[in-house]
Amino acid sequence: MIGDDTKYEYWRTAFPKLQSVGFEKTSSKTSEYNCIAHAVGTNDRWWSDAESEDEGYYWPIDRVESRIGQVEELEAALAHEGFVKCDSTRVEPGYEKVAIYVKDDNRWEHAARQLNDGRWSTKDGVNADFSHATLECVCPHYGRVYCYMKRVVAAAAVSPAPTVLISAP
């Protein structure tokens, strides 16, 4: 666990299923990045298809006004970052995966990133990050899982196979 600055009471209320599947807080509370930034591995920016570019948020593509806040806009942004839709959450070496959540109004609500061990990592808005065993345990707070997307892990980001040193007897 890192720090003690997040109100666990809030998490217990917002995500009642978390307790039973297990979760671990993995960062301090911060407003400096959001779930989308975290899902694509950039923890120094807040990504948003804000209603106006003049707000100053980061978004990798030109916003399409008619779909601001809609899940199609997020899909397009992630596609720009190299993600393609996929149909499984199975861990695939050489790929990183994200899951997108939507609410009934078709607005994207959240994205989680898959960890190497198959668990998921979530940045909870202006709160902290936490890892969780299943995608469903953060529903319905984040709505429902809409789709999965994956991209090839950049060569530099792939962890090398561990080197085992065997000393001579």
Binding site: R45, A50, E55, G56, Y58, G125
Partner: protein, 171 residues
């Protein structure tokens, strides 16, 4: 007299002696420039004839020229400061933790926007103290364009610094 007002005050003016026409507002601007030094006059919403006058001495004057214009009343901005503090604390405490759109839809955030130009100095002060998501409010109230440079987009401390710089450059 306007000259007797505390340094931070909000002023509502009646249609007299300044008419609701742009000429009337410009006369008023001219009067303020004479009294307080260089001033910037902005027409915020031509349809509603809302005008904002920002005088260099950080003396903010707000003029709403409408058919239902009131007599002159003065509201010390300590009131705005208190109101902003209360709304900001409520927003920090109760805002949805999800995406930005939902956070900014919170009633307390919307009420900050409704305070208009008068609240801008306090939002800027807040950004100076703690970079937070006040950028939508600032963009909506001020209509300012391209405040945050491309390389700083999304980086909260740099976004906050850009808005503070923008504000200071207007003073």
């Amino acid at each position: 007299m306007i000259a007797d007002l505390p340094i931070t005050s909000k002023v509502y003016l009646s249609n007299r002696p300044y008419s609701a026409s742009s000429d009337g507002v410009r006369s008023f601007a001219s009067y303020c420039q004479t009294s307080f030094g260089p001033a910037m006059l902005e027409m915020r919403n031509p349809r509603d004839l809302e005008w904002y006058l920002i005088v260099q001495s950080k003396f903010c004057i707000y003029h709403t020229a409408t058919s239902a214009a009131t007599t002159r009343t003065f509201h010390p901005t300590e009131e705005i400061a208190r109101r902003f503090r209360s709304l900001a604390d409520e927003w920090y405490r109760d805002r949805p933790r999800g995406d930005l759109h939902r956070m900014c839809e919170h009633p307390a955030y919307q009420q900050v926007i409704d305070l208009g130009w008068d609240v801008v100095p306090y939002v800027i002060e807040e950004l100076n103290r703690k970079p937070e998501h006040w950028f939508r409010a600032l963009a909506r109230i001020t209509g300012a364009k391209n405040v945050v440079p491309e390389e700083s987009r999304g980086k909260l401390p740099e976004m906050a610094a850009a808005w503070v710089t923008w504000w200071n450059s207007r003073q």
